[in-house]
C-alpha cells in the first residue's frame, strides 16, 4: 500500500499528488513514469514522475481526470488514503546534457512531465526557453515553477484568456524562424500537439524529443500493447521510451491506437458516475 501524503487541486479536473514510495523516490528521474493501481479491481495506469523527494520518500504526480480511473482517484482518494500498487520508475530517463540553448514545450497536462526536464536541463547549464499552453487560463498550471527554471518564457492559451492567444507551436516557429541557434527541443503534450511541433522543428532541422503516452497495460515490456512506430521500427513505449525522436514517430498510428478502447472507456466511466450518483443520493 502506498499512502497519499499530499493532494492539491491545480485546476478543474487536475490534481497534484505526493505519494509515499521511498524506493521509487530514491531513484526516479525526469522522463520516467510509474504505474499505479488504485484497488483490487483497478487497471494499471501509467503516470509520469513530476518530482521525487529522496529523503522524505514522496513521489509527485499530476493527474488529469479523463476517465473512470483518474476520476475515481480524484474523487475518492484523499490525503491519508493509500493506493494498492505503485511500481517504477519505468521507462528511460530523459537525456540531460549541456546542449546549449533548448526549448521546452508543454501542452495541457504535458506541462507536468515537462517541468522536471526543464529544471534538470537548466541545472545542467542550458539556456532554457519555456513555452507552455493550454485551452484556457483555468487549465494552465505550474507557471511559477516553470518560470523559475526558464531563461525566457512564453504562455499561450487557445482562447486568449491568458498569455498570448494561439498554440505553443506559434512561438516555437517564431524563435526558429528568427534564426536563433537552438540545439534541442522537448515537446510534451497531446499527440496532435507533439506532431505539429515536430513538423515545425523538422523544417529547421532541430533535434526534437517527444514523450509518447500510448495505451499501456503492464508498462514493463511484457505485452507489446504500447507499441509505436519510430523510423519504421516497432518500439515499446514503456521500455524503449517513452521519449523518442519526434521526427521519426508515426503520430497518426499513435493517435489511432489511443482511441481503440474509447467505447469501453466511456461505458466504464458512465457506470462509475451512475454508481457515484447512487451512493450520493442514498
Amino acid at each position: 500500500m502506498y499512502k497519499i501524503l499530499e493532494k492539491r487541486r491545480l485546476g478543474p479536473g487536475i490534481q497534484e499528488y505526493v505519494i509515499l514510495a521511498p524506493d521509487v523516490a530514491r531513484v526516479g528521474k525526469a522522463g520516467q513514469f510509474i504505474v499505479l493501481r488504485l484497488h483490487e479491481r483497478g487497471e494499471r495506469i501509467p503516470l509520469t514522475i513530476v518530482d521525487c523527494d529522496p529523503k522524505g520518500g514522496g513521489v509527485t504526480l499530476v493527474v488529469q481526470e479523463v476517465g473512470k480511473s483518474t476520476r475515481e482517484m480524484g474523487e475518492t482518494f484523499g490525503v491519508g488514503d493509500s493506493v494498492l500498487d505503485f511500481a517504477g520508475p519505468l521507462g528511460v530517463a530523459s537525456e540531460i546534457e549541456r546542449y546549449g540553448t533548448v526549448i521546452c514545450i508543454g501542452g495541457g497536462l504535458g506541462i507536468a512531465p515537462l517541468y522536471p526536464i526543464a529544471r534538470d536541463l537548466k541545472r545542467a547549464g542550458n539556456t532554457v526557453i519555456g513555452i507552455i499552453g493550454a485551452r484556457n487560463k483555468e487549465l494552465l498550471f505550474y507557471e511559477d515553477r516553470m518560470r523559475a527554471v526558464c531563461d525566457e518564457f512564453h504562455v499561450m492559451t487557445d482562447d486568449g484568456s491568458y498569455g498570448r492567444k494561439g498554440f505553443v507551436s506559434d512561438p516555437l516557429r517564431e524563435i526558429l524562424a528568427a534564426g536563433r541557434p537552438i540545439h534541442r527541443v522537448w515537446a510534451i503534450g497531446p499527440a496532435i500537439m507533439m506532431k505539429v511541433c515536430a513538423k515545425v522543428t523538422k523544417e529547421f532541422s532541430v533535434p526534437t524529443v517527444v514523450s509518447l503516452n500510448s495505451v499501456m497495460i503492464d508498462g514493463t515490456g511484457m505485452c507489446g500493447g504500447c507499441r509505436v512506430e519510430v523510423g519504421s521500427a516497432t518500439k515499446f513505449a514503456c521500455v524503449d521510451g517513452p521519449e523518442f525522436d519526434g521526427h521519426a514517430v508515426d503520430f497518426d498510428l499513435l493517435m489511432a491506437r489511443q482511441k481503440f478502447y474509447a467505447e469501453e472507456e466511456s461505458c466504464s466511466l458512465e457506470r462509475y458516475l451512475a454508481e457515484r450518483k447512487g451512493a450520493e443520493t442514498r
Binding site: V27, Q32, L84, L90, T220, G221, M222, T234, E264, S268
Partner: protein, 460 residues
C-alpha cells in the same frame, strides 16, 4: 490383467465450458486414482523418473496412491517437486515422464500427471505439517522474478536456512502461471496457495519491484546480498514484422492473456481493464500460448476462433491435451498457412493475408521446413488477431547488468548444472536462460541453482 487404456478423467463438455472460465477437467475420484495407479508396472529401472526434469520417484508415489495412502504419495512427490498441483496440470507429460513410460510402449502410458494432480488436490483439503526450515545461516539471497524458476529457487534456499527475498515487478507473484496460463487450465487459487505456502516458510515476496530500475544486480550484491538468482523469464512478445501489425485489434498473445488473466478483462466493467474481441478471431502460432489464446477468445464471446499455423499438425508444439481440448471446443485449425500482412480499415484490423505452405527439407530443429507455395495468396476475414509466435528474454535486468554474458539469442549464458553466470555470485535459470520452455524445466533449473547458491554462500 493390465488395463490398456488410462482411466478417463471427467471434464466439462466442450459446449458448456466455452461459456465459462472454470477448469476443464474435474480430476480423479479416489477410486479412479487407485485404479489408474494400479496400472503402473513398478519397473525396476523406472525410465519415467529420468523422464521427469525434477526426478520425482514416480513408482513410489504411484504405489502409495494404489494403496490409498495419499499422504505418503504427496510426501514422495514433494521431496522433488514443490509445485505438484501446477505440474500435474501443465507439464507436457507426453514428452516427459509419460513419454518414456514402459507401459506406453504397448498401451497408453500411466496417467502420471493426472495422479500427481490428484495427490496435490488431496493435500489442499488436508492440513499439512508446515515444511521444516533449517536454522538460519545468516546468508541473504535475492531472487529476481516470481515465476516458477524464481519461486522454486526461493523455496529450496529457504529450506536450507537462508534469508530469501523475491522481487517481482508485477503486482502479483507467479509469473506466467498468473498472467499467461488461463484460469480454465490452471486456477489462480492454486497458484496463490502454493505462493502462500512459500510465504509461510518465511520467503519474503515483494511485488511492484522493478529490478534494473529500482536497484541493479550489482547494487544488490554490493548492498548486502550474498548471491542473486535471476529468473526473469521470456516475457518479451515477438511480432511477425509484417505490414499492419500496428492496427487496432492486433494483439500479442501476452497482451491478450494478460488483460484476461491478470487484469480480469472478462469481468469488465466490474474490473476496470477492457478487452475487445469481436466475432471472429484468428490466432497465429501453434504452441500452448496459441491454444490458450484461441480458447480464451471463445470464452470471451468470439463466435469463431481460428488458428493459423505455418507447419502441419504433426509439428504442433502445444501439449497434446491442449490441442485436443481446443478442437473439442470448436477451434478451427488452418495448418500450412502463413500470414504475410494484416489488413485493416480506419485503423482497425479486418483480416489477414496468408500464403499456403508445403513442407520441404528438414531444418536445424529437425522438423521439415515450411516453404511458401507460389501464387497461393488468399485472405481471411478477422475482427481480432492474436500473434502467438513466441517470446524473447525479458530485457530490463539484462540491459542494466554489465558483465552478464548473453548468447546470440540474448539469453543469459548459465551453467546448466549450477546456473552460474559470468558474474560471481549471480545465478540464473528458467526461460531467461533457455528461451521459452516449460514450467517444470524452469523449476528444475531453480532447484539446481539453489544447491549451487547454497554451496556458494556457505563458502563465502
Amino acid at each position: 490383467m493390465i488395463r490398456d487404456k488410462q482411466v478417463p478423467m471427467r471434464e466439462q463438455s466442450g459446449a458448456e465450458r466455452i461459456r465459462n472460465f472454470d477448469e476443464v477437467p474435474y480430476g480423479y475420484s479416489d477410486d479412479e486414482a487407485a485404479a489408474e495407479a494400479a496400472r503402473c508396472l513398478q519397473c525396476r529401472n523406472a525410465p519415467c523418473i529420468a523422464g521427469c526434469p525434477v526426478g520425482i520417484d514416480i513408482p513410489a508415489f504411484l504405489l502409495a496412491v494404489k494403496e490409498r495412502d495419499t499422504a505418503r504419495a504427496i510426501a514422495v512427490i514433494k521431496t522433488s517437486n514443490a509445485l505438484p498441483a501446477v505440474c500435474g496440470r501443465v507439464c507436457p507429460q507426453e514428452t516427459q515422464c509419460q513419454g518414456v513410460c514402459t507401459l506406453g510402449k504397448r498401451f497408453e502410458p500411466v496417467a502420471i500427471g493426472r495422479l500427481e494432480r490428484y495427490c496435490a488436490d488431496w493435500e489442499s483439503t488436508h492440513p499439512a505439517a508446515p515444511t521444516s526450515v533449517a536454522p538460519s545461516t545468516g546468508r541473504r539471497v535475492a531472487v529476481i522474478g516470481a515465476g516458477p524458476a524464481g519461486l522454486t529457487a526461493a523455496g529450496e534456499l529457504r529450506k536450507m536456512g537462508h534469508d530469501v527475498t523475491v522481487y517481482e515487478l508485477l503486482h502479483v507473484a507467479g509469473g506466467v502461471l498468473m498472467y499467461g496460463i488461463p484460469e480454465f487450465r490452471l486456477p489462480k487459487a492454486i497458484v496463490k496457495r502454493e505462493i502462500d505456502g512459500l510465504r509461510q516458510m518465511g520467503v519474503r515476496i515483494e511485488v511492484n519491484q522493478v529490478i534494473g530500475r529500482i536497484a541493479t544486480v550489482h547494487e544488490m550484491l554490493a548492498g548486502g546480498f550474498d548471491a542473486v538468482f535471476i529468473g526473469t523469464g521470456a516475457g518479451l512478445p515477438q511480432f511477425l514484422g509484417i505490414p499492419g501489425e500496428g492496427l487496432n485489434g492486433v494483439y500479442s498473445a501476452n497482451e491478450f492473456l494478460t488483460r484476461t488473466n491478470l487484469m480480469r478483462a472478462y469481468l469488465f466493467p466490474e474490473y476496470d481493464t477492457p478487452l475487445r474481441v469481436g466475432r471472429r478471431v484468428i490466432t497465429v502460432g501453434g504452441g500452448n500460448v496459441a491454444m490458450d489464446s484461441a480458447r480464451t477468445a471463445l470464452r470471451l464471446g468470439a463466435e469463431e476462433s481460428l488458428i493459423v499455423y505455418r507447419r502441419s499438425e504433426e509439428e504442433l508444439p502445444a501439449r497434446r491435451e491442449e490441442a485436443h481440448h481446443a478442437k473439442e471446443e470448436g477451434v478451427d485449425f488452418h495448418f500450412l498457412t502463413n500470414p504475410i500482412a494484416f489488413l485493416g480499415e480506419n485503423g482497425r484490423v479486418t483480416g489477414v493475408r496468408c500464403l499456403r505452405m508445403e513442407l520441404g527439407e528438414p531444418d536445424a530443429s529437425g522438423r521439415r521446413r515450411p516453404v511458401p507455395v507460389a501464387g497461393s495468396e488468399f485472405e481471411m476475414q478477422a475482427d481480432s488477431v492474436i500473434v502467438a509466435i513466441g517470446n524473447g528474454p525479458h530485457p530490463l535486468v539484462l540491459q542494466t547488468t554489465p558483465g552478464l554474458e548473453l548468447n546470440r539469442w540474448g539469453n543469459i549464458v548459465a551453467d546448466p548444472e549450477t546456473g552460474a553466470t559470468s558474474i560471481p555470485g549471480v545465478f540464473a535459470g528458467g526461460d531467461i536462460v533457455t528461451g521459452a520452455a516449460t514450467v517444470i524445466e524452469a523449476m528444475g533449473a531453480g532447484k539446481r541453482a539453489a544447491r549451487a547458491i547454497d554451496a556458494f554462500v556457505r563458502a563465502k
